[in-house]
């Protein structure tokens, strides 16, 4: 009996550091960029760093559990475009019938979020019920959402002056941190809590680790998957709202560049693409890695022709350092 007694877990610092290399990457990058351009850490840029990343952050929140499932969603950016143009179209539609801009904003937001959730559910159902791999299902939906966005508004639309005040909150600061980022991080923390401390969340990790085992163990695999995709739609729509108030305008192509950026941010944070492991907290770090690279390159003023080369190399270095190598047996695909 005594030989099987479990030892009280001591904090294994080596393991903790190995599991959190991505934080080291962030610190390293901050140091390097500050040395190269002292203004990198001036107050205005810190404010930029701590508010610009909000849309990316919120979308990473939706994508992380999808990657934990071992799935992927390539339609995220296009879903975001749809929500972006839809929200402004709704606001414009209500402009004449409802007098309070705030009410218009809230109503439009609610409808948009509902649309995002609905979009996520449709994708989730097709993936789960028809067994279409999420990669290809979402790839098809990328095209579909692109068309839907263009059908809603074929041109970018500006937030009319009468409704501009609804975008003012975006600039509110609490200390150096912008309100949007605080909202995004709150969403992440809440979602993180759900993922780690509810039966649903624990189920997600089990499904990602071994779907058959999870199913036999009585976990509602299909339902949970659809919920995760619905949440992703929700986050995409929320991110779309952020982009709307940030740019004070909508555009049917606005989300395009986000899809791969979001996935790379989540992976750079340390969530694995094969599923079963990962964390939303890591994704916060991942988003900062991507944001700092982009910000730092603008700060340092890299030659325009070299920008993409430098961006690619830094991302590669960041991921190569932060990738989780603690599990030796893991196969990397």
């Amino acid at each position: 009996m005594e030989k099987t007694k479990t030892v009280a877990a001591k904090p294994d610092w080596k393991k903790i550091i190995m599991k959190n290399y991505s934080v080291l990457v962030v610190i390293l990058m901050i140091i390097i960029f500050t040395v190269m351009e002292p203004n990198f850490l001036n107050s205005m840029n810190i404010v930029n760093l701590l508010s610009d990343s909000a849309p990316l952050m919120i979308m990473a929140a939706g994508m992380t559990p999808i990657l934990i499932l071992g799935s992927i969603d390539l339609s995220l950016g296009s879903m975001c475009s749809v929500a972006n143009v839809l929200m402004l179209a709704i606001m414009l539609g209500m402009k004449d019938s409802i007098s309070s801009p705030v009410l218009i904003f809230i109503l439009a937001l609610v409808i948009t979020l509902a649309a995002g959730v609905a979009g996520g559910i449709i994708l989730g159902l097709i993936h789960v019920k028809l067994k279409v791999p999420s990669f290809i299902a979402s790839l098809a939906f990328m095209s579909v959402w692109d068309s839907v966005a263009l059908m809603i508004t074929s041109s970018p639309v500006k937030l009319p002056k009468a409704l501009k005040m609804t975008a003012d909150w975006y600039k509110i600061q609490i200390g150096p941190i912008g309100l949007p980022l605080i909202l995004a991080i709150l969403v992440i923390l809440l979602y993180h809590f759900v993922l780690t401390r509810t039966a649903f969340g624990r189920g997600i990790f089990a499904i990602g680790g071994n779907e058959r085992s999870a199913r036999i163990a009585g976990i509602k695999v299909d339902l949970y998957k659809v919920i995760v995709f619905a949440m992703n739609g929700f986050c995409a729509a929320l991110g779309a709202m952020f982009l709307l108030v940030k740019a004070k305008s909508s555009a049917p192509t606005v989300g395009e560049s986000f899809t791969l950026m979001v996935i790379s941010a989540v992976v750079a944070g340390g969530t694995s693409l094969v599923g079963g492991s990962g964390s939303l907290l890591k994704s916060i770090v991942g988003v900062f890695i991507i944001s700092i690279i982009k910000n730092g390159m603008n700060m340092v003023g890299v030659n325009v022709y070299w920008q993409k080369v430098v961006y690619g190399i830094i991302i590669l270095l960041a991921v190569a350092i932060s990738v989780d190598r603690t599990s030796r047996s893991r196969i990397v695909k």
Partner: protein, 369 residues
Amino acid sequence: MKLRKITAITLAGAMAAATLGMTAMAADTDWKSFKIDPAQIPQEKLDTTISVACSIRGLENPYINTIKVGMEMFCEYLDSIGQKYEMQVLDSGGSNDTEINNMKQFAAKANGNAIAYSDPNESAICTSLVEAMAESGGYIGTAWNREEEDTVEDYNPNWVIHTSPDNVANGKAIASALFDQMGGKGQILVVEGMLGNTANNDRVKGLEEALAEYPDIEVAAQDTANWATADALTLVETWLNQYPDVGGIWCANDNMATGAMQALENAGLLGKVGVVGIDANNDVVDAIKAGNATATVSSNGYLQGGYTLAICYAAWAGLIDPEELPLEYREFATPATVITSENVDEYIASYIDATPEFDFSEIFWCKAD
């Protein structure tokens, strides 16, 4: 002054746009001949490192490269007057969000000692870019895309100027050139740029205006090639099987015109079908000379990039006060040239065979009269 002669063939549309800004007909002709006098710039300004940037939407398009070159020419001028500076290009890759972030970060870096040329990705984000710069105290000049309701006076003094070669007019001008060449009747193919993009929508709007004036021209097919050469090639290649008797191809930019011409060449129709585009890419200009293309429009990116920064610089250096400038000197059209077989030799001689030279001290020389 060959340059003068070419710019003389400016667009009626562009001029109309210019007159829009002329709310008060201030006859203050002095501004036109305003010259930067380096001696008036305080030494402390010259010793301050000013951050110079142009914000662009990507590097796929050679026209955009001319803006960058324009900035570099202007920076050579800064060298010549002993101004310290740092130069960079902000590439948005066609993303609104990235362009706004870039501008905010650039503004943060420079702490107010900044001037920027910006080609907003969409008109809807123009003011967001200006706002980023205004908050830091830097100076910005925008080009092309801006919502009609916005005016530079909303962000005094930081939004120094907005110049606008008129996309609607450009689209219409090349369409008219094409239709004239076709004898006013026949089928055309329309190759659009990226859907949902302001520049594309405006150019197509210009095409539609021209179509209204030429009732015998019929659009056989219309689709997007996403501003890309390869996509245009595929598109036109397919269409040519369907409409072998087509008389002309209207493309929303020159990259796509290149693809259209390649498709024509493969089909043995090069030179027999008119092709028009916008941007004055070298290969399209050469094709006009060879008789393989009909027309393109030069918006003169060198001039746009260089002079916009020059005016912003004058504002930063305190030589001009934007608030005192009459509106017609803050919102105006830069010269755009329709290049056809008539003036192509001249254009080649001054812009392709020779690098154009500009005197950036005459900051308002860039204003189309």
